[in-house]
């Protein structure tokens, strides 16, 4: 139900983070990522942030050089997912301070940990930034 995958891809089409909630092989992932990045890059500011792809939808949002792409089932609330992306960015921002693409590249595992707290089984589980970051901050302090 809900979210099928979350991707962060830069303008050159390089994937910076990929979390899939349903299994796809490496080749399938590469093909999928190339296809949807092309679709989203071709769109301009005035158009919708939603794209229909095969039998599901992609909600995307661009922050500076990075595209956040979330693949969702057709019954999801697109605006809510759009804001979920923003919540994710705000959370990373709180942790990294003015988060940018490099932060994600150099601390990939932290970014994944944050996502692990927020989404399980393709469902949004936690939306309080305090609760999301607490385990990660604890981990940083004790170890």
């Amino acid at each position: 139900m809900g979210i099928r995958f979350i991707l962060m891809v830069n303008k050159q089409g390089q994937t910076r983070l990929a979390q899939y909630y349903e299994y796809l092989t490496l080749e399938e992932r590469r093909a999928l990522e190339a296809e949807i990045v092309r679709k989203c890059l071709a769109r301009n500011e005035q158009q919708c942030s939603f794209v229909e792809h095969r039998n599901y939808k992609i909600v995307y949002r661009r922050y500076a050089s990075l595209f956040f792409l979330v693949g969702v089932d057709n019954d999801e609330n697109e605006l809510a997912i759009l804001e979920f992306i923003h919540l994710l960015v705000e959370t990373m921002d709180r942790h990294f301070g003015n988060v940018c693409e490099l932060d994600i590249m150099f601390h990939l595992e932290k970014a994944h940990f944050m996502l692990e707290e927020m989404v399980m089984n393709g469902c949004i589980v936690e939306t309080s930034k305090t609760n999301i970051l607490a385990p990660i901050q604890l981990m940083d302090k004790t170890y």
Binding site: Q46, E52, L79, L108, E126, N131
Partner: protein, 491 residues
């Protein structure tokens, strides 16, 4: 080692296989250091899927970690269970997970519930006796655990609505508390109280109230309140309002709520933001079933969206038009749809639109003439994408007439079909399915009204057979029809 494992995650992310190193990730999960352990689990869950063999190596470690004194280790293990356990390994960890549902730390309870959800998704029979746990956790003190429980409950209710009707009152009460800001401030997002939880609750209420007047009546007040209080200037506020509209259109109709919904839709459609227009069109489509007159009010806005260069918006608007079609407007709508279909490059979507056109034409055609012309257009431009059954239906229709015992009307129909096909047959590169229809019609009825001689028809059919000599089915159809018209000549 941690750095290397992370780099391997990168390698796979860029599309290259790193399976030679999976075992190292597995080994890292044994480490006592939490950061290494967690990174190990992360890598394993990114590399592997629940039916890969190395998973067996992990199960022991997971079992041990689930019993750890350190709740962070337990959480890490629960995360891994969610991604890696399949229906064979469920029994190995199930008892431990059930125990963790009562753990003192809310983070653990929250993840345990999601693990149970995952077990339910993978192997429902193994947890059917534990479903009552979801009900219990709904009343958990911690809002995070409650919020998480909504996910499995949504799935359960989708499958079996009636068992959960008794929870309507609980859900309404929870939604009321959330909307009245009784949750801790940390759940606020952009000044809205726990909007994602509100949205999920609204989805659940929509399921429970659908077709059930009694249950719906319990919901009217809280939904009405949300309509009034929700901030309409932020995206997330509009997301909640949109979900309210979805709920209102699913449950037993209430005129006041429908009125509020219509107002929100007006605002969405008038907005400059394409995202809001998209949501507005979608919401309009849902409301139309209950109050069809709402479509007329927004006709202009809908037409604007249709002309918009944004493809996503156009598609959404066509979906809306499909829902709005009646005999009075079918000609206009289907004509537009066909024009759009012609402009498409994406075959997957072209097929979809073509079949929608066919459906509407079959359902609402104002005249037989129009029907045949429309079907001709669809075949001409998307013939190879359309289901072959549609072609058979068309031929059947022409052969048997439209059911009214009016022989003159039927033969007029056939004549006009013959006329149009003789015109079209000259065009280059017609789709194979279409040609078969044409050949058959010409063969059967080409000479029926005496306007064309059998030899003329035969000549045309021979031309077709020559022009499309590569296409076996067309050749066959052509020859078959030739035979019929040759019989005419002989007769």
């Amino acid at each position: 080692m941690k750095e290397y494992i992370i780099r391997l995650v990168y390698v796979e992310m860029l599309g290259h296989d790193a399976s030679f190193a999976y075992i190292h990730a597995v080994k890292m999960t044994h480490d006592d250091n939490l950061v290494l352990k967690r990174t190990g689990y992360l890598a394993v869950s990114l590399f592997l899927n629940d039916d890969h063999d190395p998973i067996i190596l992990i199960v022991n470690t997971i079992q041990k970690d689930l019993k750890s004194d350190n709740y962070l280790v337990v959480c890490t293990a629960l995360n891994a269970v969610c991604k890696l356990i399949n229906d064979e390994t469920v029994p190995a960890v199930l008892p431990q997970v059930v125990e963790l549902l009562g753990h003192q730390k809310e983070a653990v309870r929250k993840k345990a519930i999601m693990v149970l959800h995952r077990f339910y998704q993978k192997s429902p029979s193994s947890v059917s006796h534990l479903v009552s746990n979801f009900r219990k956790r709904l009343c958990d003190n911690d809002p995070g655990v409650m919020g998480a429980t909504l996910c499995p409950l949504f799935d359960l209710i989708t499958i079996d609505v009636n068992t959960y009707k008794d929870l309507v009152v609980s859900f309404v009460s929870i939604l009321k508390q959330v909307a009245e800001r009784r949750l801790p401030k940390t759940y606020d997002y952009h000044q809205l109280p726990a909007p994602f939880i509100q949205i999920r609750l609204l989805k659940i209420l929509a399921l429970l109230g659908s077709g059930d007047k009694q249950s719906s009546e319990k919901m009217y007040m809280v939904v009405g309140d949300i309509f009034k209080k929700c901030d309409s200037t932020s995206n997330i506020g509009n997301a909640v309002l949109y979900e309210c509209i979805c709920c209102v259109s699913a449950i037993h109709p209430n005129p006041k709520l429908l009125e509020q919904a219509a107002q929100v839709i007006s605002r969405f459609l008038k907005s400059d933001s394409h995202n809001l227009k998209y949501m507005g069109i979608d919401a309009l489509g849902r409301l139309i079933k209950i109050s069809p007159e709402i479509a007329e009010q927004h006709q202009l806005a809908v037409i604007d969206c249709l002309e918009d260069p944004d493809d996503t918006l156009k598609r959404k608007t066509f979906e809306l038009l499909y829902k709005m079609t009646k005999s009075s407007n079918v000609e206009v709508i289907v004509d537009r749809m066909i024009d759009y279909m012609i402009s498409l490059n994406d075959n997957h979507y072209k097929t979809y639109i073509a079949s929608r056109c066919v459906e509407l034409a079959e359902q609402f055609a104002p005249s037989n003439q129009w029907f045949i012309q429309t079907m001709n257009k669809v075949f001409e431009h998307a013939g190879d994408l359309v289901n072959v059954k549609v072609a058979h239906n068309l031929m059947k229709l022409i052969a048997e007439g439209f059911g009214e015992d009016d022989d003159t009307a039927d033969s007029q129909l056939r004549s006009s079909a013959v006329e149009s096909y003789l015109r079209i047959i000259g065009e280059p590169k017609l789709p194979s399915v279409f040609l078969q229809v044409i050949c058959w019609v010409l063969g059967e009825y080409g000479t029926a009204d005496g306007k064309y001689s059998a030899s003329y028809i035969t000549g045309k059919l021979c031309d077709v057979a020559e022009a499309y000599s590569n296409d076996e089915t067309v050749k066959f159809a052509g020859q078959f029809s030739l035979r019929s018209s040759v019989h005419e000549v002989e007769a």
